[in-house]
């Protein structure tokens, strides 16, 4: 029987059974003997020095084992480089418990370790800290004059700074027939995965540790822990098979990992440290950003001038950057551009990539500006985008490796019923609600990175493929298994993909929508390498009919190898391994992208979102009643899990446009809504009809799979489409996110 191809098939999540029965174990759920529990104490001031930490009452509590702080800690390395993880921006990484300096509100300053969780938590409340407070600055809007260029570093390769100016923007803008200028204000957001950041260590003796950690990168945490604590890499094993969401928050090792490992090494015990929900607001976040746009166009709708500037916050110790302003000219080929991105260092923790970092911020400004122009020009918003469709990326003067955005517009519009739209704002009502529709384009980079994978096949004909990569809910396990099955030509039930373990072949951190392309290509390459080895063994078999043929002359499918010309001439993998004395055949491949080829192209996924909103005229409440997102992301390995990724992105778009924001009291320098009751994300009742279309797109350039990744692209176009729909419903253009009812009354 011929096995159907797995790539392109809607395979159910392979770990589904474990997740619906509660058997999936997350980092804080390993039952290890003699476990001690740690609870973190955080700074209550924003800037200054710790004068004293009075631990006496906490120590007096029975069950308290140890209290760590800068006064009582492991000897730590001096050099900043030792604390730099794979995702560290240029600057000085934060070093927990390093000294008495307070850099931001909520900084971890002590760790109580006790026999029980409750004791540790209570003891933490008994610790009295006295500080010497210093003045601080946390408000971006008050410091726009201090904005400066970001420092360059390794991160700049993945997150390029804006391209230099083209043409003469000021002249072109002044000469333009129509113009729109807007200011766009985005607040702070926190990732808030539902699983709290947790680490469980197993102290193996002799400076060896097994660590269950919540992370997006097991290799990243392994290198970080080994460097910081002076351990051998091979003595640190990071395991992270299940991750309860991350959205970027697990790209860097978080401080609970550092604290838990320190306690474990010092006490020579197994330790668990779990953040509470408020502590989930004491590390990376999406930065406050203030953008300005000025776009000019001719009377026939050709955009001639694009000016997009952004000023974002960063910390005093690192220059975290995002790609915010580079997108407009990739989408719309204006000849005159002026793009600028600057930072203001403030007394906050370093911001961190959060789902569609930069893109979801910048596209709101770009797509709302395009929308505003369309109303001034009296051109349909989608028509304006089609009029300015970029067949080539003029910002980099390169062709696109593939681009089916036009099909996204057309198929999305068709499914949504865009053609029936009334062009004038504030013209449709349902009862006391104003109804409007809006659309937006979306774009997201395709990143190529090296990754390694190992593949082996045993005497039962079972294929095992390994990578250190994590699966943060993205569907990586399922997708990699599908890729491996097709690459070797074997039934999916005969494939095991092992992952989430730093002992396995090195993988980049999971993020940036690149995991499927990057790790998937490594999996494919490892399987291709395995095929060669299987083929060699087959040739050596007695009476082998493959003696005189080349690899190109055979086909691997159905768990066997046969001649291309003669299917009846075959040998099964099991037979080949039996002939190999039953010994496994193994292959390993470090897949390195062809940078010289890739550099010749702009590589991006695209999307188009179409949204309908209802706005209650009296109450200002906004409801996204239906939405369609059409996506061009190359080959879709698993339409079911990919659709879920896009739906998730769309819901994040609803959240970004209408719900979530971390609010700071700038007198205190402290975030004030640090719980899930006050930090609003959509609930089931907020989510209505959502639809996803995957547009056919073939790409032979980006990677061996032609797959672009779908983690962020669904969010990129959604939030601006909502803002545009609100304008169409109400006639009010609100450029500050999230859009709340008070702005619509």
């Amino acid at each position: 029987m011929k096995i159907s191809k797995q790539i392109g098939k809607s395979v159910n999540r392979l770990e589904g059974h474990l997740k619906v029965t509660g058997a999936a174990k997350y980092a804080g759920e390993y039952d290890v003997p003699g476990l001690l529990q740690g609870y973190i104490v955080n700074s209550t001031i924003t800037k200054g020095k710790i004068l004293e930490i009075d631990e006496s009452a906490a120590h007096a509590l029975s069950g308290v084992v140890a209290i760590f702080s800068h006064n009582n800690r492991t000897k730590l390395p001096w050099f900043d480089i030792m604390y730099a993880d794979m995702d560290a921006p240029p600057g000085t990484p934060f070093k927990p418990f390093y000294n008495d300096q307070i850099l931001y509100n909520g900084q971890p300053i002590a760790l109580v370790v006790a026999e029980t969780f409750e004791t540790a938590r209570y003891a933490a409340t008994l610790i009295k800290v006295t500080y010497d407070e210093e003045p601080f600055e946390t408000e971006l809007a008050a410091h726009l004059d201090d904005a400066r260029d970001p420092k360059k570093g390794i991160a700049t390769f993945i997150k390029p700074l804006p391209p230099s100016a083209n043409g003469d923007f000021e002249k072109a803008y002044n000469d333009a027939d129509v113009q729109y200028a807007g200011e766009f204000i985005h607040g702070t957001e926190h990732h808030n995965p539902l699983e709290l950041f947790t680490t469980t260590t197993v102290y193996e003796g002799d400076g060896k540790l097994t660590v269950y950690d919540k992370t997006q990168g097991t290799s990243n945490c392994q290198i970080y822990i080994a460097n910081v604590f002076g351990l051998h890499y091979k003595d640190v094993r990071i395991l992270s098979p299940f991750v309860g969401g991350a959205f970027g928050s697990g790209l860097r090792p978080q401080y609970q990992l550092f604290l838990c490992v320190m306690a474990s090494l010092e006490l020579k015990r197994n330790v668990r440290v779990t953040m509470d929900r408020a502590q989930m607001f004491t590390f990376g976040h999406r930065p406050q950003t203030i953008q300005k746009t000025r776009f000019g166009a001719t009377a026939d709708g050709t955009v001639t001038a694009i000016n997009h500037t952004a000023i974002a916050e960063t910390s005093q110790h690192e220059d975290y950057t995002e790609v915010v302003v580079n997108w407009a000219n990739m989408l719309y080929p204006a000849k005159n551009t002026l793009l600028d991105y600057k930072l203001v260092p403030l007394d906050v923790f370093s911001p961190m990539d959060m789902r569609a970092p930069g893109g979801s911020t910048g596209l709101h400004a770009i797509e709302a500006t395009m929308d505003a122009l369309s109303y001034i020009l009296k051109v349909d918003p989608m028509e304006l985008r089609l009029l300015n469709y970029a067949e080539r990326d003029v910002s980099a003067n390169k062709p696109f490796s593939s681009k089916e955005l036009k099909q996204c517009y057309l198929q999305g519009a068709e499914k949504f019923g865009w053609a029936n739209r009334k062009s004038e704002p504030r013209t449709t009502r349902r009862g006391n609600r104003l109804v409007g529709t809006g659309m937006s384009s979306g774009i997201w980079d395709v990143i190529a990175l090296p990754a390694k994978a190992k593949a082996s096949i045993n005497k039962k004909g079972k294929l095992k493929v390994k990578s250190a990569v994590t699966d943060i809910g993205t569907g990586t396990l399922t997708v990699m298994t599908q890729i491996a099955a097709d690459s070797l030509g074997i039934h999916i039930d005969d494939v095991t993909f092992e992952y989430g373990d730093s002992n396995m072949p090195l993988s980049p951190i999971q993020g940036g929508s690149y995991t499927t392309g990057v790790v998937g290509s490594a999996v494919k390459a490892a399987c291709e390498s395995l095929k060669k080895k299987i083929f060699k063994k087959a040739k050596k078999m007695n009476n082998s009919t493959f003696n005189s043929v080349a690899l190109e002359d055979v086909v691997f499918e159905d768990g066997s190898m046969h001649l291309k010309q003669d299917k009846s001439n075959f040998v099964t993998f099991k037979e080949i391994i039996a002939d190999n004395d039953g010994k496994k055949i193994k292959a390993s491949k470090n897949n390195i992208p062809n940078v010289l080829k890739l550099k010749q192209y702009t590589r991006a996924a695209h999307s188009a979102a179409f949204v309908e909103v209802e706005v209650d005229e009296q109450l200002g409440i906004v409801n996204v009643t239906r939405a369609v997102t059409a996506v061009a992301a190359g080959k879709i390995i698993n339409p079911k899990t990919a659709r879920s990724q896009i739906l998730g992105g769309m819901i994040w778009g609803i959240s970004k446009a209408l719900r979530e924001e971390t609010l700071m009291d700038h007198n205190l320098g402290k975030y004030m809504n640090t719980d899930l009751g006050e930090y609003h994300i959509p609930v089931h009742a907020d989510i209505h009809e959502l639809d996803v279309i995957f547009v056919d797109e073939k790409d032979d350039i980006i990677n061996e799979l032609g797959s672009k990744g779908v983690g962020e692209i669904g969010l990129a176009s959604m939030a601006p489409a909502i803002a545009n729909a609100i304008y169409h419903a109400t006639g009010k253009r609100v450029n500050k996110f999230p859009i709340h009812f008070d702005q619509l009354l």
């Binding site: 997740k19 997350y26 539902l194 089931h684 009742a685």
Partner: protein
């Protein structure tokens, strides 16, 4: 040595305050000796070693800790273990019938009603007890009645699809 009897907190974790509690979890009786301030959630996870029930906020705001207690869905993080002495509790580990999945669990897999899976045990326990409450009939009502269970991955529509399919099949 620290003086363990000097402060007002002296007996915080001494066993003299521990209370005997019997919890009938998933048809197995769990005899616990817990301090009165231990939440039902921590009792189930740390003492009962049933980690399928999740802690997402410990404040009753996310619903990840939902279990079915005496037939009703409750937030185990807002419940003390001592309050439920003698109660019948079903956690996610008790939803399937041995190896045979509950139809709602199957529907969750088919509809891809989870991504990271962390809110899933709470969603499933909540949905099963919610349908027993009989307050929700239409899709909108189900969405409303399930709104105490947050999902950060954005699997919302798939979760409601799975519940509606199970609900409709159950009523056939």
């Amino acid at each position: 040595m620290h003086d363990k009897n000097s402060s007002n907190t002296a007996n915080f974790s001494s066993n003299s305050n521990a209370t005997k509690v019997q919890l009938h979890i998933n048809k197995t009786t769990l005899h616990l000796h817990v301090m009165p301030w231990v939440s039902l959630l921590d009792a189930i996870r740390d003492h009962g070693k049933l980690t399928g029930t999740k802690k997402g906020c410990d404040h009753g705001q996310c619903g990840a800790c939902t279990v079915i207690c005496d037939g009703k869905r409750i937030l185990s993080c807002l419940t003390l273990a001592v309050m439920k002495d003698g109660s019948e509790i079903t956690t996610i580990e008790g939803i399937a019938n041995g190896e045979v999945l509950h139809p709602l669990q199957t529907a969750f897999i088919e509809h891809d009603a989870f991504q990271c899976g962390y809110c899933t045990p709470g969603q499933i326990c909540s949905a099963i007890a919610m349908l027993e409450e009989g307050k929700a009939d239409t899709r909108d009502e189900v969405k409303e009645q399930m709104s105490g269970n947050l999902c950060r991955c954005g699997a919302n529509t798939n979760i409601i699809d799975a519940i509606m399919e199970f609900k409709d099949k159950r009523n056939e």
